[in-house]
Amino acid sequence: MEAKTSGLSRLGSAVSGFFAVIARFFSEFGTAMAKGDLFVKLSLLWWGAGYFRRRQYVKAILMTLLEIAVIVFTLNFAMAYVPKFGTLGTVQAEQVFNMQTMQTEWNDYDNSFMILLFSLFSFVIWFAAAVVCMRNVVNVYELQMQAQRGKHINTFVEDLREYLDKKFHITLLSLPVLGIVVFTLIPMLLLILVAFTNYDQQHMPPTNLFGWVGFSNFVTLFGGGITTTFGYAFVRILGWTIIWSFFATLTTYIGGILMSLLLNSKLTRGTKIWRTMLVVTIAVPQFVSLLLMRNFFANSGIVNTICANIGLTGFLRDIGLISTSYIPFMTAPGWVHVMIILINIWIGIPYQMLIATGVLMNLPTDQIESAKIDGANPFQVFKSITMPYMLQVTGPALITDFVKNFNNFNVIYLLTQNVFVTTNQFMANSQAKETDLLVTWLFTLTQDYYNYKMASVIGIMVFIVCAVFTLVGFNFMISGDKEGTYQ
């Protein structure tokens, strides 16, 4: 109960902290605009004005250039796309062949996807420009205050030096954040927007246009739309995704700990050699090792040959577990689910073993010794000392792993693609199969069926589910912010 409250209060403080930052931002800006002199106010229109007044000429020029760049960007680039954002384009592509030039000539047609993408880019840049502009006013106002108090005003070189000292975090963060904005944030926002359009096979740019459709894709997902089985498939796939993430995370986690205890035991000879053997499995690319695994367990694969030879197949037939002349490791639901989790153990344990090895080096041995003296058996030691320690230390990583497995494309795709054919017609009618995770389903929907709108809706659902699990997980795992422990 205590953990829960602390988790919720964490969330609460995160939210309120966020609003506090915004509120402070605006109040500072308001103060500056109200109390600033003419040049401070002018800075809103001419970004260099305030610096010019305080004789920071280099800064004034830089800010002016920046402002010009924003204006040029707006006029030359943004205005070609943003005005069409409301409709996502209206001009259909048309072509005429010109015999003279031997070329096809096109009209100046709209591409809905590009309009969406570049409008988003423009919004992000404008947002950044607005923040810079407002911060600039505040900054110039501070300069005014400094000047009024007769304090020293930094030269340009001194300003630059700040970036290696007090503002070092800006130097560190600017490039990585730029990368994240361009390659993660904007694509993410874009696909969220696509969920509200009809971007699908019937509306594929550049030949066709797509437009806004509101919430109708969400209605479709929950059964009110055109594909009657979409909601059916979604619920089942979501269920398997959660089961998979849970077992995939848990089995490799515990397996990794046991494996590392085993390898680091005093009885073990040649720890390094054993460990290296395990680590080699990480080094083989998954698209090779998983493909091998699936051939290994194919209906006519080696394992089946062996099982038939030793009579296991016959035995399973006799007790009615299978009805085929082979064991359908990768082709029957149930079997394939278990196999996927088992194969994932094969892949995952070496990783987890490496992590656990390191963590267990710091295991408080005195506790274990006293427990042993008290007569605790190894299982009790494991349960009440080793595991709690591991959980305390690696709990947050466990949640991250859960989310990673939730979106674990490789394992599922490489093991089941072209091998597993569902016999559930309702699933098949929605292009799904029992082994699909939400993420592989949305991959099929985009790659084979160009159904970007539904894939985006599913993507948003994945996001929501992951967010809920992360929140709940952190609530139970983290009893407080440990950040300061070592500081």
């Binding site: 040029v72 810079v132 911060r135 975090h169």
Partner: protein, 439 residues
């Protein structure tokens, strides 16, 4: 924080300026109309015409050769032709991801035609563009149509318009068998095949879990698949066919085969492996497995049309989807005129003959197909014999998953021959899934 954002913005600015430059380039490709009047875009002579060409891995060497010949045909014109690798069976995926970046000329299998046309990725060849053929290649589009087999032209057309040049045929499936274990007589029917295989302690293999294969039973019994103008698929398998069979009759026939101990259901894509591992003495597959079958069956290597199967106590000849390899021109190609000429050149009689020589792809060109070497090829002869019963595949994207599942259910024995209600429900669900609206 301000400086962070300022810096960030500065960097964004630099990049977005680059974007202006970049988009300038895109605009150019999007709207060549703008520079069509410029002197930089010449007619038949002048600067090099740059074209990109995609073909299968196994076609690369041949394409390089043919492209040189193409250049030699037009000595007045300089070309810059880039050849890329793109499998015929997956061309659609790559093309549709970004049509504007796709090759000017690309090879693909005819089952992708509908999606490509729907996305506007293929240039209709008998529009205005058709004039380039008489002007430069000395033939008309009708000559091309007449030179190729009727089926191949139909497979390359949609709604009466030709969208690609037929490049090769024989992309259907038929029966390979080991004549030391199965007689030609026995190979005529499933009953004969299965009995012979069981007697020989071997199996007859076929892929059930794919609509491409299992449709052969339904089509043989007179059922159809087709496509509506809106892209949805038409399917009548849950009703009664033109030949008077019900879908249930066909399912029972298929189930009887699947339940036979001499039958082996093979996963789609696993056929070559099964042939090579000598698990089967007869198998339904296509010309691409000719090499594997020849090695595995050795002396007994033989091929023939598909067998008949028992449907409502009658013997019904299996049909198939006739498959063709086509060469299409990207609708967004800038130098579309030359692209059409190149595509036509790469699929003309001489090129098809050369392609048969290099990779045993059956020619669609009637003259090339009449060649002695072609007609004496065992696999191609069988493919042609089966093609008589074939029909052009005309289905939408929703066809594949439900039919694969349906085939898998029969192969697994999930549909019991005596449970009529279950079979009918399964058929109804199948048809519902296949004919669902396209999103």
């Amino acid at each position: 924080m301000k400086k962070l954002i300022a810096l960030l913005l500065a960097a964004v600015m630099v990049l977005s300026l680059a974007a202006c430059g970049g988009s300038g380039k895109t605009a150019e490709t999007q709207a060549p109309a703008a520079d069509a009047n410029a002197p930089a875009a010449p007619a038949a002579s002048g600067g090099p015409i740059s074209l990109t060409l995609w073909g299968a891995e196994e076609d690369q060497a041949l394409l390089a050769e043919l492209v040189e010949k193409f250049k030699a045909q037009y000595p007045d014109q300089t070309f810059d032709i880039q050849i890329g690798v793109e499998s015929e069976s997956t061309a659609k995926d790559t093309v549709l991801t970004d049509v504007e970046a796709a090759a000017d000329v690309f090879a693909f299998a005819n089952d992708q035609l509908n999606d490509l046309v729907a996305a506007g990725a293929l240039l209709a060849l008998d529009g205005d563009i058709a004039q380039v053929l008489p002007a430069y290649a000395g033939k008309t589009i009708d000559d091309v149509k007449a030179a190729n087999g009727e089926g191949s032209v139909a497979a390359a057309s949609k709604d009466g318009k030709l969208y690609a040049f037929p490049m090769g045929g024989g992309n259907n499936y038929f029966l390979y068998y080991d004549s030391t274990k199965i007689t030609a007589e026995q190979a005529q029917s499933w009953d004969g095949l299965l009995a012979a295989a069981e007697a020989a302690g071997s199996k007859v293999g076929m892929t059930y879990a794919s609509g491409w294969y299992n449709a052969s039973f339904f089509l043989g019994a007179g059922f159809i698949t087709d496509m509506n103008p809106d892209g949805t698929t038409v399917m009548d398998w849950n009703g009664t066919s033109a030949d008077g069979f019900t879908g249930m009759d066909v399912v029972k026939g298929m189930a009887a085969i699947a339940a036979h101990p001499g039958f082996l259901a093979i996963a789609d894509g696993d056929i070559s492996n099964q042939i090579a591992s000598k698990a089967v003495c007869a198998v339904v597959s296509g010309t691409w497995d000719a090499g594997a079958a020849e090695t595995a069956f050795g002396e007994g290597y033989a091929a023939t049309k598909l067998p008949t199967f028992t449907c409502a106590d009658k013997q019904v000849q299996m049909s198939c989807y006739s498959g063709f390899k086509l060469m299409g021109v990207n609708a967004y190609s800038k130098n579309s005129g030359w692209a059409v000429l190149l595509a036509e050149f790469l699929t003309n009689e001489a090129s098809q003959t050369a392609r048969f020589a290099s990779r045993q792809l059956a020619p669609t060109n009637l003259k090339a197909a009449a060649d002695e070497a072609v007609t004496s090829n065992v696999a191609i002869a069988a493919s042609a014999a089966q093609d008589v019963y074939g029909s052009v595949q005309n289905v939408g994207g929703k066809f594949w998953d439900p039919t694969a599942t349906f085939g898998q259910m029969i192969a697994n024995g999930d549909l019991k021959a005596d449970d009529d209600a279950a079979i009918q429900t399964a058929l109804d669900t199948l048809v519902e899934g296949v004919t669902a609206p396209v999103e």
